[in-house]
């Protein structure tokens, strides 16, 4: 097992204010390590998305500490957090969030463009990422011309094109049928095989369990269990 590349230590997060204030996370500690696919499971309202947002440097913890590639996010402002995201974290969203007016290739290139990478280099890298997810032949297609599974694979290509150390995926198969869900999870497991990269997947779908190296259960803002998901080895 390699060293943690993304970790949360005793993270507490309050959401809302006044009478509506709730403690969404109640002292969560979690580490994402390189070379493994970690599955975070829990019922609705258990704090999965809040934890993902904090690990993804979109929210800051009310208490506790988050480290990205060894660097604490304490005291970081919105621009510092954005910099951490673009340099170290790739995201895959449930509803893909592709840009409908741009081609698949340009959607992937966006992750490099926000890093200021030049056109020629970014095109080559984006094509390589599209090939990694098995869509080398769809670079010119627009999202509306792709199936849900293909759109999610484009989103995965966008998440990995800048070679981040962590990939965070929020319900990546929720909008897909079984076959497409399997394809997407195989791609994510393949990505997680890189020892320098950790993948954390938040999901309800039990069909994902075979792809996970580790499963973490969260309930009511607390980690309540952790177990190996050894079947993930099947994809390796």
């Amino acid at each position: 097992m390699t060293e943690a590349i993304l970790d949360a230590v005793d993270v507490v997060k309050f959401l809302g204010s006044g009478a509506g204030r709730v403690e969404a996370l109640k002292g969560v500690s979690l580490a994402v390590t390189g070379g493994e696919l970690t599955l975070l499971m829990g019922p609705s309202g258990s704090g999965k998305t809040t934890l993902l947002s904090i690990l993804g440097c979109m929210l800051t913890p009310s208490r506790g500490m988050v480290r990205v590639a060894g660097r604490s996010t304490a005291g970081a402002g919105p621009e510092d957090l954005a910099k951490l995201r673009r340099e170290h974290i790739g995201f895959v969203f449930q509803s893909y969030h592709l840009f409908p007016t741009m081609s698949a290739l340009d959607n992937v290139r966006l992750a490099l463009d926000v890093r200021g990478e030049g056109t020629r280099a970014s095109r080559a890298k984006a094509k390589e990422a599209m090939a990694t997810v098995g869509l080398a032949h769809k670079v010119k297609a627009y999202p509306s011309e792709l199936s849900g599974g293909e759109q999610q694979r484009v989103a995965i290509a966008r998440a990995i094109v800048a070679n981040p150390s962590s990939v965070l995926a929020d319900e990546p198969t929720a909008a897909l049928d079984g076959a497409n869900g399997q394809i997407v999870m195989k791609v994510l497991a393949q990505i997680a095989a890189n020892p320098a990269r950790g993948v954390l997947v938040v999901a309800h779908d039990p069909r994902i369990i075979p792809f996970a190296n580790r499963i973490i259960h969260i309930e009511d803002g607390r980690i309540v269990g952790m177990e190996p998901g050894g079947a993930g080895l099947n994809s390796k």
Binding site: A82, H97, M102, V114
Partner: protein, 377 residues
């Protein structure tokens, strides 16, 4: 090329109807500003046109004169006093005043008469398109501008009318000598001008001073100031400035034009701001995604500002075309709209500034985006 521009272009053209509305807003605004500023420039030229075309090193004017069309009178003694001053070669009288132009068909219209000695340097009609200066020495001869033919009920050269019960004949025709007040200018000789405005031969409105060779204008002016009693001495630049200040700002005419231009700018800014704001709102998911994948605030601002700039360039291009048509269409009218290279550049800068300013509301909206919203949509 960065994807910023591509993203901005696609966002802008994605909703064509909204894009057309934006461009119409910009075009409407810039055409309005163009017309107002073009009229302002036109008026600005008109109010100083006589001063610009007069051959004078200094002007002797009645004390307190507000503008060229201010028809007070100076006594000829002031002229003799001026001629006695060292460095003054000549002081040419000019008389101005309002009169009635009675047409042959019985109608009448007010005119603004300019009487000057046509044999010496001074104030002569220019841009002659018919007749000659020499022809003004014929008895009853006058020069009129062709843009006022209709107002004067005239068909041009050889046509006759009456001023102060005296028959006059058009012996010279000019082009483009228009009056800010829209009252037609009519040129004639000094003596005839005095008769038409009803003043005595020893009076004049202005004396145009010509300096002796090698004379220092400032020194001559100081000496004239010390010598003259009821008159003041102005350089052409000072007289221009005084006329401009009176007509454009003293009367409120300039302020009205500026107010129209300002209104155009405000309307344009609001329209562009509204469309950019609603476009940003429609693409809020995309901006949130950009933020989530780590784009800086500057990157997103660039997308919005590029959208604004693209709207500005397209809107300005169309507005400039319409402006050019208006300029051509009004060129020979009594109220021409003038377009100068400086005005074109100024309008482009204004359009860009207006559109970038409009982007602020959209940028403020984007600044408030919570990137974590991408997990819940």
């Amino acid at each position: 090329m960065s994807l910023v521009f591509k993203l901005a272009r696609r966002n802008l053209f994605h909703d064509r109807l909204r894009f057309i509305a934006t461009v119409i807003g910009i075009v409407f605004s810039i055409v309005l500003v163009t017309v107002q500023m073009g009229l302002f420039l036109s008026f600005d030229r008109m109010v100083t046109t006589m001063i610009d075309h007069a051959d004078a090193d200094l002007w002797i004017v009645p004390r307190g004169t507000k503008c060229f069309e201010d028809p007070s009178l100076l006594d000829e003694r002031e002229r003799f006093r001026a001629l006695s001053v060292e460095g003054v070669a000549d002081a040419t009288p000019v008389v101005i005043g309002f009169a009635q132009w009675r047409m042959r068909n019985g109608g009448a219209t007010p005119i603004f008469l300019i009487g000057a000695d046509m044999r010496t340097d001074g104030l002569h009609p220019w841009n002659l398109v018919g007749g000659s200066i020499e022809a003004l020495s014929i008895s009853g001869a006058v020069a009129v501008d062709r843009s006022y033919f209709e107002r004067l009920g005239s068909k041009g050269l050889g046509d006759s009318a009456e001023i102060r019960d005296q028959r006059v004949e058009v012996t010279a025709v000019t082009s483009g000598i228009r009056s800010f007040t829209t009252t037609p200018y009519v040129f004639t000789t000094l003596d005839r001008g005095r008769a038409f405005v009803g003043t005595t031969p020893n009076k004049a409105t202005y004396y145009l001073v010509h300096l002796a060779r090698g004379a220092d204008a400032a020194a001559v002016r100081r000496r004239l100031d010390a010598t003259l009693v009821d008159a003041e001495v102005l350089t052409p630049g000072e007289f221009r400035s005084r006329s401009r200040s009176f007509w454009l700002f003293g009367t409120g005419a300039g302020a009205a034009l500026f107010a129209g231009a300002l209104l155009g700018m405000i309307v344009g800014t609001v329209i562009v701001a509204q469309t950019l704001y609603s476009s940003t709102k429609d693409h809020i998911n995309e901006f949130a995604t950009l933020r989530a994948i780590g784009s800086s605030g500057t990157y997103i601002h660039k997308v919005i500002v590029f959208q604004a700039l693209l709207s500005a360039v397209i809107g300005f291009g169309i507005a400039a075309g319409i402006g050019w048509i208006i300029v051509r269409a009004t060129a020979d009218s009594a109220l021409p709209v003038i377009m100068t290279p400086a005005l074109v550049v100024g309008l482009f800068v204004l359009t860009v500034a207006m559109c970038v300013l409009s982007a602020i509301a959209a940028i403020v909206q984007v600044m408030r985006i919570d990137p974590a919203m991408v997990f819940t949509r």
